[in-house]
């Protein structure tokens, strides 16, 4: 906000899906114009929050479909103003021998650390898939019903089956701060506990640390 990078737009009126598309497209065009004028350091922060009052939220499916289509179209226009994430962040995740960047073509508005935006569905899918592979028989039915469609919708129809989790290849993850290879050869004892927290971003890098003040402003926006 201090950098005038956060803009709130009120798009009043009775909107349907078609008029929303038109309205959003106008704001996206404005976004492209603004980002051209922005300082490079501010480009990643530029945000336009469009408020659509009175929108019927009873059925979110058409809106989700519209969002999916518009975001893909917008991403093709390469509005991010440069490579995001930077190479160091593209190491998350690192799967040896496999292309690391699952979200190789992120759009403006994605997190500069590459852990939000288009990369999330693939990673979330991978994570959920592993969860189901290993624990499906023990997952409560209502949770399985929630997770299953997310997996199958992404072309990973393995929900509900327990595969050989112990024999499967572990993926590698590395960030500036953490390296999953440090788990190699670790010997557990009976009854131990591993705590994994899934957050918006749970790793830090040197740039993030230097930009901590900016981060805090982003946090305020999220509040």
């Amino acid at each position: 906000m201090d950098s005038s990078c956060f803009l709130l737009a009120w798009a009043g009126g009775d909107h349907d899906i078609r008029s929303i598309e038109s309205a959003i497209d106008r704001y996206r065009q404005w976004f492209l114009e603004l980002i051209e004028q922005s300082e490079k350091t501010h480009q990643r922060l530029l945000t336009i929050l469009v408020v659509l009052p009175g929108l019927d939220r009873a059925d979110a499916d058409p809106l989700d479909a519209l969002q999916e289509r518009l975001k893909d179209a917008f991403r093709r226009r390469r509005a991010d103003g440069g490579p995001v994430p930077p190479p160091v962040h593209a190491e998350w995740p690192v799967e040896r021998g496999v292309q690391a960047a699952e979200g190789a073509d992120p759009a403006a508005g994605d997190s500069p650390d590459g852990r939000l935006g288009p990369a999330v569905p693939a990673r979330l899918c991978s994570h959920l898939s592993a969860y189901l592979d290993r624990f499906a028989p023990d997952i409560p039915g209502h949770v399985r019903r929630l997770l299953g469609p997310k997996i199958t919708a992404a072309g990973r129809p393995r929900a509900g089956r327990r595969l050989a989790g112990r024999g499967s290849v572990m993926r590698r993850y590395r960030t500036w701060l953490a390296d999953s290879a440090r788990w190699d050869g670790f010997e557990f004892r009976e009854g131990e506990i591993v705590i994994r927290s899934v957050e918006v971003r749970d790793d830090l890098d040197a740039d993030d640390l230097r930009a901590a003040d900016l981060r805090r402003r982003q946090v305020c926006l999220a509040r």
Binding site: P93, R123, S126, H127, S129, A130, Y131, R134, G165, R166, S168, M170, R171, R172, Y173, T175, W176, L177, A178, D179, S180, R182, W183, D184, F186, F188, R189, E190, G191, E192, I193, V194, I195, R196, S197, V198, E199, V200, R201, D202, D203, L204, A206, L209, R210, A212, R215, R216, Q218, V219, C220, A222, R223
Partner: protein, 103 residues
Amino acid sequence: MQMICALLIFGDARFAWPADRTVARLDIQTDAIVNVRATLAAQQHRRFIKTHTPLDGLPFDDRVSYICVARDPRDAAISSGHHLSNMNRDVLPGPRGTTAGAE
């Protein structure tokens, strides 16, 4: 979550180890892995280990309980902000560089 685990395991709010040694984080590169493992090896209680590695990057063991804490992104953002505020950002790159460079 780590505090819940600690309280359940120890049955006491007074821990024998400093907080940063009670809950080990294997994958964080601020201390040499040999030191982290030595700390873990010395622990005789039911060990609990924090990690930032997604489930499909962790070794799987039937004897182990894996707790995945999924947080509302809004809460995580606030928590991250507090975490950054409490962090000595001038100091962190030092041990990380020493550790990651050596490994």
